[in-house]
C-alpha cells in the first residue's frame, strides 16, 4: 500500500541534480496498480520530469480525485504534500489551493471517468479560470477501479467496440478543453517517454492550465469481443462467478517514434491504435484549426499526439484576480486586519 515506501539507498555515483537530489528522491510509495498498467508508466515519466526540472519535492502539491489513475500521486514525490479528493472534484481543490498559495507547483492526476463524467463541470471551469497547474488525464476509456465500465472518452484502441456503447460520440478531452479556452493542450501515450516527459515539463512550466491527455491502456478491463486477452475470454476459462477476478500477467507497453510520423501500437487486447505525432513545424493558429486537424486525422483512424495548442497570452487565475505577489496564505495577519479604525469607519457608514 502507498505508505510502504521503498528503501532510498542511492548507489554511489548515481546522478544528482542541482539540488543534490537523485531520481530516487522523486519516487513515491510502491504502486498497487496492476502489473503493466499504463498509469505506472506515466508515474515514472513524472518522476523523471520533476527530477530533470530540479524542483524541490516539497514545493509541489499533488492532487487527484478517485480512481486507479487518481491513486498514482501516492507513487511519486513522497516529499510532496498530496491530496486525494472525492471523485471528480479535484479541480476545485486545485483552484482553492492555488488561490491560497501561488508559489507551489500543482500537478493534478485524473482519469477519464473522473474528469469527463462526474467531474466534467469542474474540469471545464478550472480550464476557464486558467488555474496554473499541470492537469493529466490518464485516459484508458474505462472505469478501472470499478471494474471496467465504459467511460465517456474515446474507446482507446477499440476496433471491436462498435457496439451500443460507441454510438454516443465519445468526448475527446482535448477538443472539449479547446472549446472552453484551454491555453496548453497536449496528448501523448503512456509508453512514449520521449514525447511524454518534455510535454510534462512544458506543462509544469506553462503559466496557466496545462491539459495533457495521456492514452494509458488498462491491461485488465480492455474488454473487447474478439480480443484474445479480453476478460470475456478470461471468464470462459474460469468459474463463472469470477467477474474479472483474474488479472493476466502483463507488461507495460513502450514505444518510440519520430515527430511527423505515424506508428501503430498494439494494446494488451491485441487491438491496435494509430498514433500520429504532430510534425515539428505544426503550430495551430487557432483553436478551430487544431480541432479540424484532429478531426481530419480521426477520419483516418489516427489519434494525433504532441503539443496541440498553446496560448501564453491569457493571464492565470491570479492575474485575472489581480492578487498580491505574496501568496495569500503567507500574508501576516496584521496586514489583513483593519483593526479598531476599521470598525470606526464601519460604524460611520452604518450609523
Amino acid at each position: 500500500m502507498s505508505y510502504i515506501s521503498k528503501p532510498r539507498v542511492p548507489y554511489a555515483g548515481i546522478k544528482r541534480n542541482k539540488l543534490g537530489l537523485t531520481i530516487r528522491d522523486y519516487e513515491g510509495g510502491m504502486s498497487t496498480l496492476c502489473a503493466g498498467c499504463g498509469h505506472d508508466s506515466i508515474t515514472a515519466a513524472l518522476v523523471q520530469a520533476f527530477f530533470e526540472l530540479e524542483v524541490a519535492p516539497h514545493q509541489v502539491a499533488k492532487l487527484s480525485g478517485i480512481g486507479c489513475s487518481s491513486k498514482t500521486p501516492a507513487y511519486f514525490l513522497d516529499g510532496a504534500h498530496g491530496l486525494n479528493a472525492v471523485h471528480g472534484r479535484m479541480p476545485a481543490i486545485a483552484t482553492g489551493a492555488n488561490a491560497a498559495n501561488r508559489n507551489l507547483y500543482y500537478v493534478g492526476v485524473s482519469g477519464d471517468g473522473d474528469s469527463l463524467s462526474i467531474g466534467i463541470g469542474q474540469f471545464a471551469h478550472a480550464i476557464r479560470r486558467n488555474v496554473n497547474m499541470l492537469y493529466i488525464i490518464e485516459n484508458n476509456g474505462v472505469y478501472g477501479l470499478t471494474k471496467g465500465q465504459f467511460s465517456a472518452s474515446a474507446d482507446i484502441g477499440s476496433t471491436a467496440k462498435k457496439g451500443e456503447q460507441n454510438q454516443n460520440l465519445p468526448i475527446d478531452p482535448v477538443v472539449l478543453a479547446l472549446s472552453v479556452g484551454a491555453t496548453y493542450v497536449a496528448r501523448s501515450f503512456s509508453g512514449d517517454k520521449d514525447q511524454l516527459i518534455p510535454i510534462l515539463k512544458g506543462g509544469l512550466m506553462h503559466q496557466g492550465f496545462a491539459l495533457i491527455d495521456v492514452i494509458s491502456p488498462c491491461v485488465t478491463f480492455n474488454d473487447h469481443a474478439g480480443s484474445t486477452k479480453s476478460y470475456a475470454h478470461t471468464r470462459e476459462h474460469i468459474h463463472e462467478t469470477v467477474r474479472s477476478d483474474f488479472v493476466p500477467p502483463a507488461e507495460a507497453i513502450e514505444i518510440e517514434y519520430q515527430k511527423g510520423s505515424v506508428t501503430p501500437v498494439r494494446l494488451h487486447d491485441g487491438s491496435h491504435i494509430l498514433l500520429r505525432k504532430v510534425a515539428p513545424e505544426f503550430s495551430a493558429e487557432s483553436r478551430s484549426e487544431t480541432v479540424s486537424y484532429i478531426e481530419k486525422h480521426q477520419a483516418k483512424g489516427e489519434i494525433v499526439t504532441g503539443l496541440l495548442f498553446l496560448d501564453e497570452g491569457p493571464g492565470d487565475l491570479h492575474e485575472t484576480s489581480d492578487t498580491t505577489e505574496q501568496p495569500l496564505c503567507a500574508i501576516e495577519y496584521d496586514s489583513l486586519c483593519p483593526g479598531e479604525s476599521g470598525l470606526e469607519d464601519v460604524y460611520r457608514i452604518y450609523r
Partner: protein, 602 residues
C-alpha cells in the same frame, strides 16, 4: 384593545405594501433610518418575493422604545401601495389602526373598514404634477408617502434632510428632488389630516452608539477581521449579500497601498460543490477560506463536508437559511437546516455548528468559526437565516481587541519541523483528539497524504480494521473536546422559575419579549453552538418543563437535544413556527399557552 384616543409614542408598527422593482426600499429605509436617528429604537423587516419586478413586497418597521426586534403580530399603520394586495393589507391592520393609500383614484369603497381610519393621499397625482420623467414619477411616489408619514408620525424634518444629504452627497439635484417630494407629502398630510396621529414618534436618546446593519454584512466584516483571504461561493438568496459585503470590505480594507494588488481572492464558483472544494483546498494550503450558501447549497456540499470531517481540513460555511424543503421559498426565513447541517454527509459524520442570533453575533461568530475550524481541524457551519442576514437590525458599535490573534490550532512550522524526529499527521499526541498538521511547501519533513479514504494514524492508506477504527474513535474524542471550545449557551433567569424556554438564533427576539409578558416566571437558555457544552444538560436537568422555540416543522433543535443529551425528552415541549415569516412574540405566547397544534410533535 387600546382605546382609540390614547397617545402611543414610540411603540407601534408601520407596514408598507409595495410592488417590487418600483424603488420603494430606498424610501422605506429612509423612513426607518430617520426614526432611528431621532434616538428611537427601530427594526425593519423586508418581505420580498423571489422575483425581480411586479410582485408584492412588504416592509415592516417596528418602532419600539423597549427595543423589541421581533414581529409583534400588530400593524398599526399600513401604507398600501399595491393594488394586488389591497384587501389583504387592509384586513391585516390592527383594530384602531390607520391605512394610508394612493387616493389619486377613488377607492374608499374597496378599502373601508369601520374600525380603522383611512388616510388617502393622491400620491400619483402629486408626483405627476411635480415631476416630469417617468422614472422620477415612479420613484418619488415612494418618497412622497414618507413625507406624508413624517407629518402623521411627527418625524423630525431636519433628520430626514440629513439622511437625504448623506445619501446624495455631491448630487445636489437628487437631494433637491427628494426633499421636494418629502415636502409635498408632508404638506398634504398637514393640510388634510389632524397631525400627528396618536401613534407618533417622540425623540429619545436610546440609539446612541447603535448602527443599523444586516447580519450578512456583519458576518462578512467578521471574515475580513478573521483574516480570511479566500471567499468562494455560488450565488443564492439569501446568502448573496454576504459575499457582496466581503467584496465591498475587501475593496476598502484589503488593497495593498503600495502595489494596488488585492490581499484577497473571491471566486464565483460554477456551483456549490466547487465552492466548498475551493475553500477546502485553500484551508488545506494554509489560508483561511469560507463559502456562503443556503439550504440547497448545503445539500450539494454534503459530500465535501464529509471529506472535510474525515480528512480533517478546516473550512467555514455560512448557511443563511431560507424556507425548505427543496427550492422552497427562497425569500422567506426558517431555521430548518439544523439537522441536515449537523449530520451532513453519509457515514458517521457530524459537524460543529454556530447559531448567531443577531448581526452583532454574526460578526463575532465569524471570528469564532475560523478559530474553531482551525483549532478543531474540521468544517464549521454558521447557521444564520434570512431574517438575521438580510434585514437591518440595531447593532451596538462593534469593538475590537487589538490583542486578538487568529487561533491557527496545532500547526507545525518550518522551525518545529526542522527539529522534529518524524511527523505523522493523524497521531494524537496529547489525547484531545486533535493532531498536528503541516502546510505544503513549508518543509520537506512536513509532507503527508490527505485522503477521504481509509487511513491510519500515520496518514497511510489502510483497510485494516484496527487502524481504521483507531482514527474513527479519535475523531469521536475530538468531538468531545469540541464541547469545551464552542460558545457557551446564554442563560437568563427569573426568580422562582420552574419552567424555561430554550431557543436559538433569530427566535431569540420573540422570546426576549415574551419573557417580560408571560404569566409565569421563566428561565431562558439560548443555544449558541453544537455540540452542546455541558451547561445545556445541566439547564435541562434543573427545570420541570421546557419550551423549545424554533422555526421549523420537525422540531430540529429538540431533536438534537434529545439525541445528544442524557435527558428525558418528555419535558421538552415544542413551539414551532415555519410559515416563512419571522416568528413573532404573539406566536411564542400562544405556544406557551398551548394554543398551537404543532406542539404535540414528538
Amino acid at each position: 384593545m387600546l382605546k382609540s384616543n390614547d397617545v402611543i409614542a414610540n411603540d407601534f408598527v408601520i407596514k408598507v405594501a409595495n410592488v417590487n422593482g418600483t424603488g420603494s426600499s430606498s424610501a422605506n429605509s429612509l423612513l426607518m433610518k430617520s426614526i432611528f436617528h431621532m434616538g428611537v429604537p427601530v427594526i425593519g423587516k423586508n418581505y420580498f418575493p423571489s422575483n425581480i419586478q411586479g410582485l408584492p413586497t412588504w416592509y415592516e418597521i417596528r418602532v419600539s422604545k423597549d427595543g423589541y426586534v421581533s414581529r409583534s403580530g400588530r400593524v398599526d399603520i399600513m401604507v398600501s401601495m399595491n393594488a394586488q394586495t389591497y384587501l389583504q393589507d387592509r384586513d391585516e391592520v390592527s383594530s384602531g389602526g390607520y391605512l394610508l393609500y394612493d387616493s389619486s383614484w377613488p377607492r374608499e369603497d374597496r378599502l373601508a373598514r369601520n374600525d380603522i381610519t383611512l388616510l388617502g393621499v393622491p400620491l400619483s397625482r402629486i408626483c405627476n404634477e411635480a415631476f416630469t420623467s417617468a422614472r422620477a414619477r415612479i420613484l418619488m411616489k415612494n418618497i412622497t408617502y414618507v413625507g406624508a408619514l413624517s407629518a402623521l408620525l411627527n418625524i423630525d424634518h431636519d433628520v430626514i434632510s440629513d439622511q437625504l444629504k448623506r445619501t446624495f452627497a455631491g448630487k445636489e439635484h437628487l437631494f433637491e428632488a427628494n426633499m421636494k417630494a418629502i415636502q409635498l407629502g408632508h404638506d398634504y398630510a398637514i393640510k388634510n389630516f389632524s397631525c400627528p396621529l396618536r401613534f407618533r414618534v417622540e425623540p429619545l436618546d436610546y440609539t446612541a452608539d447603535l448602527m443599523m446593519i444586516d447580519g450578512n454584512t456583519a458576518a462578512a466584516l467578521g471574515c475580513v477581521y478573521a483574516g480570511a483571504t479566500l471567499g468562494a461561493w455560488y450565488p443564492i438568496t439569501p446568502s448573496t449579500s454576504l459575499m457582496d459585503g466581503f467584496t465591498k470590505f475587501c475593496e476598502k480594507f484589503r488593497i495593498d497601498p503600495v502595489t494596488g494588488k488585492k490581499k484577497y481572492c473571491i471566486i464565483q464558483a460554477e456551483d456549490e460543490l466547487a465552492a466548498i472544494g475551493m475553500t477546502i483546498g485553500a484551508g488545506w494550503n494554509g489560508a483561511r477560506a469560507f463559502t456562503c450558501t443556503s439550504g440547497p447549497g448545503i445539500s450539494l456540499m454534503s459530500e465535501f463536508l464529509g471529506f472535510g470531517y474525515y480528512a480533517e481540513v478546516p473550512t467555514v460555511v455560512f448557511d443563511v437559511q431560507r424556507v425548505g424543503p427543496s427550492t422552497g421559498m427562497p425569500t422567506r426565513t426558517q431555521q430548518s437546516d439544523i439537522l441536515s447541517c449537523a449530520f451532513a454527509s453519509h457515514g458517521d459524520t457530524r459537524h460543529v455548528l454556530l447559531f448567531p442570533a443577531y448581526p452583532e453575533e454574526c460578526f463575532y461568530f465569524s471570528l469564532e468559526a475560523f478559530d474553531l475550524a482551525e483549532r478543531l481541524q474540521t468544517p464549521v457551519i454558521v447557521l444564520s437565516d434570512l431574517d438575521i442576514g438580510m434585514n437591518d437590525w440595531p447593532c451596538p458599535k462593534l469593538t475590537w481587541a487589538p490583542s486578538y490573534k487568529p487561533d491557527r490550532g496545532k500547526v507545525l512550522d518550518e522551525e518545529e519541523l526542522e527539529h522534529l524526529e518524524d511527523f505523522y499527521r493523524y497521531q494524537d499526541t496529547d489525547g484531545d483528539g486533535i493532531c498536528f498538521r503541516t502546510f505544503p511547501g513549508v518543509h520537506p519533513r512536513g509532507s503527508f497524504f490527505t485522503r477521504g479514504s481509509g487511513h491510519n494514524q500515520y496518514g497511510g492508506y489502510t483497510e485494516d480494521p484496527e487502524e481504521y477504527q483507531q482514527v474513527l474513535d479519535r475523531l469521536r474524542r475530538k468531538w468531545e473536546t469540541a464541547k469545551k471550545f464552542v460558545p457557551e449557551p446564554l442563560v437568563q433567569t427569573q426568580p422562582g422559575a420552574k419552567s424555561a424556554i430554550i431557543a436559538l438564533g433569530s427566535s431569540d427576539g420573540a422570546v426576549q419579549e415574551v419573557l417580560e409578558h408571560a404569566d409565569q416566571p421563566l428561565d431562558y437558555m439560548r443555544i449558541r453552538a453544537f455540540p452542546f457544552s455541558d451547561g445545556v444538560q445541566e439547564f435541562i436537568d434543573t427545570h420541570e418543563r421546557i419550551f423549545v422555540v424554533e422555526q421549523n416543522r420537525d422540531a430540529q433543535l429538540k431533536t438534537l437535544l434529545t439525541v445528544e443529551l442524557n435527558i428525558d425528552k418528555r419535558k421538552l415541549i415544542s413551539v414551532l413556527h415555519y410559515d416563512g415569516f419571522p416568528i413573532g412574540s404573539d406566536h411564542v405566547l400562544a405556544g406557551l399557552n398551548g394554543l398551537l397544534k404543532e406542539s404535540v410533535r414528538v
